[in-house]
Subunit: 199 residues, 2 copies
């Protein structure tokens, strides 16, 4: 287990697995894995691109003999979100959150992430959290606007399941892709556009 | 100097500089620095977001005592481009290239980068190279479509200055932002949209 400085997220690194990279460190988390596999499917089928931002690494020392070998480095705290990308010409930006309870505690959303997603929204991008309720096995697209609205009007310390279900869009599960993220985005953001094309 | 495995790009790391990070490794290159400072300006003024993708690092070992300390890792070859981002609601993706001569040799563009930018274009994103001719101190937005067109119709080993000047869009220099990248993008991609708004 790696603990970030400044109370950042806790991640697992499998030290014996030669495939472990900063890109893959969260593969133990099922939502991350589902998103990763779904993104690969969307990319392979030329439907969308979602780019997983690696956790930044601060490099201090490299080997004097093997020049691509880093001998001292530190994980840095991420200042933005997990993914950005492209779908239906639009810029997409999102962060994944899993919860084992029937609420999503507000302190699970870092201030940096909320600010970043709000900025994306203001600039005309599409910005949301992907929230999975593990015990219910339900995953939602939860737009940043509802986060902001909630923070303005509430003093509670968590989003309830009902609030996210009501304001979010369910991402259905499937075999391939594992998550029907694009269908959820169509419903959430592109309904008018798709209707216009059909007329 | 760090040499990537598989003949990737050669980069400099200042081993004595505690500020050196994987994000900043190219700061010796003036184009990278100009883009970085300009991006900061655009972000601070809520005009656009350009995200610098760090070079991925393959982590093998972390310290058993200091858990955020990486003791063995390797630089990986980047499979995509330098930057992606958001401007005028659209997804933007680009790669920076500097040349000291009056041509840009084709082998400076990696196949991965060209393929990635072409995919972005096909999905309705905006995809280009930012090309700087160092001796002329001129920088251009050079759309991926002209790269593809050139590769199809030419056997020459380099893009000439004239080809890039004719098909590209000059990015003017300024004090703040250092590069008027957004003005060049307006001219290259948003002319109709801006005209419509003015009517």
């Amino acid at each position: 287990m790696i603990k970030y400085p400044n109370g950042g997220p806790t991640i697992k690194v499998d030290k014996n697995n030669s495939n472990s990279t900063t890109n893959r460190k969260n593969m133990g988390m099922s939502l991350e894995k589902d998103i990763e596999l779904s993104s690969k499917y969307f990319m392979d089928h030329n439907l969308a691109i979602f780019y997983k931002k690696p956790t930044p690494v601060h490099v201090y020392k490299v080997s004097p003999t093997k020049s691509h070998l880093i001998t001292e480095a530190y994980f840095e705290k991420k200042s933005t979100t997990d993914y950005n990308g492209l779908y239906r010409q639009r810029y997409i930006d999102f962060e994944c959150k899993e919860t084992k309870t029937k609420t999503l505690p507000l302190d699970r959303l870092s201030r940096h992430q909320v600010e970043h997603l709000f900025r994306v929204k203001q600039l005309g991008g599409i910005a949301f959290f992907v929230v999975r309720f593990n015990t219910l096995d339900e995953t939602y697209v939860f737009d940043i606007s509802h986060v902001i609205e909630y923070l303005k009007n509430n003093t509670k310390q968590a989003f309830s399941y009902d609030y996210i279900k009501t304001n979010g869009f369910l991402i259905r599960k499937s075999y391939s892709p594992r998550l029907e993220l694009l269908k959820a985005l169509d419903e959430a953001y592109f309904k008018d556009e798709i209707k216009e094309k059909q007329i």
